[in-house]
Symmetry: C2
DNA sequence: TTGACAAGTGGAGACGGTCTCCATATTCTC
DNA sequence: GAGAATATGGAGACCGTCTCCACTTGTCAA
C-alpha cells in the first residue's frame, strides 16, 4: 500500500538480508523460531521486529519478492511476444515446481490481503503479455487473462498432491496450446 | 478407537466438567488460554492435561459429544419413521444455526481424523433413519445416505457466510421434500 | 467398617518462544 | 565535519504451555 519513506542504506541492506534468509529457510521447509530469522540474517531481534512485526508480514515480503522476480523476467526484448508468453508460463510452473516447499509455506502463512495485492501485479503482467501476443497474431484474443490466472492459481494451490510436478508441466502445456490462434 | 478402562467416578466428573466448560466457551467464541479451560471447569491444570493433552484433543471430545447428542435424539418411538427423519434433519440444522460459533470453532480446531471417526456415527444414524422411513413407504428408497450426508456437511462448513442461517433452513427443507416418495 | 492399593488431583514452577526497550551506532544533510 | 535523523542489537520482561510429584480420593476385598 503506502510505499512511504525510502529506507536508509543500512536498513535496506538488513531488510534484504532478512528476506533472503527467510526465503531460504521457507524453501527448505524448516520450521524456525521467529527470532532465528534474525540470527540467520546476521541482525538483532529488534531489527527483525522493526521490519516485520509478525511472521505473516515476513512471509508477505518473501511472497512479494517472488512475484516481482517472476514478473520482471516476463518481458525479454530479444524474443517475440509469443515466445515471451510461453516462456513466462513455463517459467512460472518451473519455478513453482523447483520451490515446492516455498509454495507450500507461503500458501500456509501469507494472509489473503497480501495475496490479493500481489495478485494484481501478476494479473497485469499476464494481461500485458497476452495483449502483445494477440496483437502479434499468435494467440487468441478472446481469452480473459483472469481465466489464465485462475488456471495458474489452481496449479499453485495443488502443491501437495502426489504427482504434482509432472501434472503441472502437463497442465501448463495444455494452457499454452489452448491459447494458440487456430 | 481404544475405549480402554472405565474412568473412576471423580475422573469422569472432572472430564465432563472440562468438556462442558470448553463447549460453552467455544460456543461463545471466546479465545481462551488452554490453562483457562481448567479454571473454568474448577479443576487443576494437571487434570486438564491428563485428560486432554492438546487443544485439538479437547475439541475432538466436544465434537464427539455434539454428534452423539444429535444422534441420540434421532429416534423417538412415539413418532413415525418419517417424522423421525424430518425431525432429525431440521434439528440438525437448527442446532448448527443456534451454535454457529461452536460450529466455526470446531471446524477450525478439530483434526480430520476425529472428524472422520464421528462422521461414521452420523452416517449410520442417517442411513438407519432413511431405511426405516423408506420401509414405511414415506420416502424414496433410491437415495444414498451418503448423498444426504454430503448435503448436511456442506451446510455445516459454510457457517461463516452471510445469510447462512436462513439459507440453511431453506436448504434442509429442499432435502426433506426431495426425499419424499412421489 | 476398614485397610491398603490403585487411580486421580492440583498447582508451583520450569521451559521456551515472542516481543519491548533504549543506550549506542550508523547514515544523511548541509 | 557537525548535528539531526534514523537504525541497531540483544538482554531480559512477559506470558502461554506443559511437567512433575506429594498429596487426596475412590474402590474393593476381607
Amino acid at each position: 500500500m503506502t510505499e512511504s519513506k525510502p529506507l536508509r542504506a543500512d536498513a535496506r541492506r538488513n531488510r534484504d538480508a532478512i528476506v533472503a534468509a527467510a526465503r531460504s529457510s521457507f524453501d527448505h521447509g524448516e520450521q524456525l523460531r521467529f527470532d532465528d530469522f534474525a540470527a540467520r540474517a546476521g541482525v538483532g531481534v529488534g531489527t527483525l521486529y522493526r521490519h516485520f512485526p509478525t511472521r505473516a508480514a515476513l512471509a508477505a515480503a518473501v511472497y512479494e519478492d517472488e512475484v516481482s522476480a517472476l514478473c520482471d523476467r516476463a518481458r525479454d526484448p530479444s524474443r517475440s511476444p509469443g515466445e515471451n508468453l510461453d516462456t513466462f508460463l513455463r517459467g512460472f510452473v518451473d519455478h513453482l515446481v523447483a520451490h515446492a516447499g516455498l509454495a507450500r509455506t507461503l500458501a500456509a502463512i501469507v494472509d489473503p490481503a497480501s495475496r490479493a495485492k500481489n495478485g494484481v501485479e501478476l494479473e497485469r503482467t499476464v494481461a500485458d503479455l497476452m495483449t502483445r501476443a494477440a496483437a502479434d497474431g499468435v494467440v487468441r484474443n478472446d481469452v480473459n487473462p483472469e481465466a489464465v490466472l485462475m488456471l495458474l492459481h489452481n496449479i499453485g494451490s495443488a502443491a501437495d498432491r502426489p504427482q504434482w510436478a509432472s501434472q503441472s508441466r502437463g497442465a501448463i502445456e495444455v494452457v499454452i496450446a489452448g491459447l494458440k490462434r487456430t
